[in-house]
């Protein structure tokens, strides 16, 4: 089929990149935004624009709030008919469900405290004994006051899930599409190295003075090669993260009996009860347990604060409290769990040092999820993600330009989809931020409106690109890239101005007068985006005019009768 191995690898690289590159573009772009997803949440929900705090008092702040929480109405309506054993009679009313588990989570990047209750079903159906109904709340850690939870957390609940699931939850299809794209990314990286003959000699090569086709390929090679470890490890660790839970969930399917058995064995070995005793017991001071946990971590030469806590079997003699250290100084996720008997506060079990396998898994997962507090490394991650976007975009552009020159059918359509996946996606993102600031906060269903604006803007970008790409058939540069760059600049500046008008938080204030970096950082990023978009639009405009001039000058002119005589 192909005359050489290299040519066959080039075919694989081209088609894997082209077919799934659109998905990878979404993954890399929203992945880059997700580095600062909590900061975007602060921008989008002005009521939460305050500084992060450590875990507050459980006894005086968190517990009183949790005791007011009731089971979520939607989750109750959806789950209760499935979880309740109909032979036991009528379903327990939502308000009468009893708490089985309390949990609380805080991070250095998120000033709000995420916490909640898991309610047990008194008469569970067979096989549903372990299932619970949720009741989650968001608290101001300074006061314990419950914050409104109906506002869409645009960063952590939209951009971040877009990155790993395309916000397409039906049958987890989005997860599998992203997983397939990650596999294709690994293949594209390896085949790219194979087909790039002069990998080391051209490692730093970028020749902006060459023809656009050559320069595009230089940029594609550069952005792919200099960040090759980043691209490879993020595609790989992305697959590792979901390998056991989504792609191959054997512990909850074919190995379920073994999993349940192991759960009981671990409970026996650690002394952490797997089930309730059915005997009521009080809850001792969790604040004292937190102080003891901090003391033990410091004694192990890893001082830190509580990042995550769980109270199991609430109100029962078998109740125990698990405290996990906030790993903001580590690549690996929270760990070093210490477990206390809830009724007395005595330590039952300390998690032992991890096995090599578990430690490696936690490192790889933590490397990708980046919960750590290291601002330089976070910004370097954004750089890596954006380089991935550049690599994919230049791959599209190179493909389309090559085929347009060869006058291949379909190149116009591919270019239109490429425009939609690149500039269209950025437009949709910015339109959502503008809508967030323009729509009134008390608007019913504001979250749905914001999502509607996002998808609508993206569809409009596609329609615009399809309409303007007709010129690709005439081999002229399609103006949709340039026009959408201008729209990006307009939307980005509009978002900054809308934030100022709606909240009073302009850049002078957030940078100098009352410094608040989450909002200032996003405003600055928006302005830089606008500047880059305008510069790109101008460069494309110059290139388009030059191309038109070349085309005009290359048209042969018929000699005028009598000229030259």
């Amino acid at each position: 089929m192909f005359s050489s191995f290299r040519l066959s690898m080039a075919w694989v690289h081209t088609w894997f990149g082209l077919v799934l590159g659109f998905v990878l573009m979404v993954c890399f772009f929203f992945g880059s935004l997700s580095v600062f997803d909590r900061e975007i949440d602060r921008w989008a929900i002005p009521e939460t624009r305050f500084n992060a705090e450590p875990m507050p008092s459980f006894d005086h702040v968190i517990l009183p709030a949790l005791q007011q929480v009731r089971a979520d109405a939607d989750d109750y309506a959806r789950q209760m008919p499935v979880l309740h054993d109909p032979a036991a009679g009528t379903m327990t009313p939502r308000e009468a469900l009893l708490a089985d588990r309390y949990w609380a989570y805080i991070t250095h990047r998120d000033p709000v405290l995420a916490t909640g209750v898991r309610f047990r079903v008194p008469h569970p159906a067979a096989g549903q004994e372990a299932q619970r109904i949720r009741g989650d709340v968001v608290l101001d850690p300074r006061s314990g006051q419950q914050l409104r939870d109906d506002a869409l957390r645009i960063g952590s609940d939209w951009f971040y899930p877009m990155h790993y699931s395309l916000n397409w939850a039906w049958k987890n299809i989005g997860y599998f599409v992203v997983g397939l794209a990650a596999l294709a990314m690994l293949v594209a990286l390896i085949t790219g190295v194979i087909i790039h003959r002069r990998l080391f000699r051209e490692f730093f090569t970028l020749r902006p003075w060459k023809q656009p086709q050559r320069m595009t390929l230089d940029l594609h090679n550069l952005s792919g090669v200099v960040a090759l470890p980043f691209h490879f490890f993020f595609a790989f660790t992305g697959l590792v993260i979901f390998a056991g839970s989504i792609y191959l969930p054997v512990t909850h399917t074919v190995l379920r009996p073994m999993h349940d058995q192991q759960h009981l064995i671990e409970a026996r070995e650690t002394g952490l009860p797997a089930a309730r005793a059915g005997v009521a017991a009080p809850l001792a001071s969790v604040d004292a347990m937190m102080a003891e946990a901090r003391r033990r971590w410091a004694a192990r030469d890893m001082p830190g604060d509580v990042g995550y806590l769980v109270v199991h079997h609430v109100g029962d003699a078998n109740s125990y409290v698990s405290l996990y250290r906030a790993g903001s100084d580590r690549v690996a996720l929270v760990g070093e769990g210490i477990h206390f008997r809830a009724s007395s506060g005595e330590v039952i079990h300390e998690d032992p040092p991890h096995s090599a396998t578990l430690a490696l898994n936690e490192f790889l997962t933590g490397l990708h999820l980046q919960h750590f507090e290291h601002w330089l490394l976070r910004w370097l991650y954004v750089l890596g993600g954006l380089l991935g976007c550049v690599c994919i975009t230049t791959g599209f552009v190179f493909y389309v330009r090559k085929r347009r020159r060869e006058q291949r059918a379909g190149s116009g359509f591919v270019e239109a989809v490429a425009v939609t996946a690149v500039t269209g996606m950025v437009m949709a993102t910015l339109a959502m931020l503008v809508a967030n600031r323009v729509l009134p906060p008390e608007l019913l269903g504001k979250a749905d409106w914001e999502k509607g604006v996002f998808w609508s803007a993206w569809v409009l970008a596609l329609a615009h690109a399809l309409w303007r790409s007709r010129s690709a058939l005439t081999h002229r540069p399609t103006p949709s890239w340039q026009e959408q760059c201008v729209l990006i600049a307009v939307l980005a500046v509009t978002a900054v101005v809308a934030n100022w008008i709606s909240t009073g938080d302009h850049l002078i204030r957030t940078l100098f007068l009352d410094t608040y970096w989450p909002v200032a950082g996003l405003d600055l990023a928006l302005l830089v985006t606008a500047a880059v978009a305008i510069a790109t639009a101008r460069r494309l405009s110059v290139a388009a005019r030059a191309k038109l001039t070349d085309d005009a000058m290359s048209v042969p002119v018929a000699p005028v009768a009598g000229a030259g005589t």
Partner: protein, 102 residues
Amino acid sequence: MSASLWLLLAGICSLIGIVWLALSLPSHAQQARRGATLPTGRQYRLRQYRGGVALVLAGVACLQADHPGMALLVWIMLQVLAALSVSSVLAWRPRVLKLFVR
């Protein structure tokens, strides 16, 4: 020395190391200093050696700033930033690097 200063030192060492590695390639050495005679094989190896040493020093500085797991990631990503910066300089202002080419 504070962690920030160690990281700054790591960034500088990374940049210098990548410059040396880039200029060990004949095409880039000629970009930086037009008209210069092509360096000998020994000079190229010397630049590669200097580049390698600078990158190792950058790694040591990263280890002074953070624990090993974090330091490894910072070190790798600093090379990415340095390589991108040097490529951009070679593309638009190559003569800035002529001091490294004798």
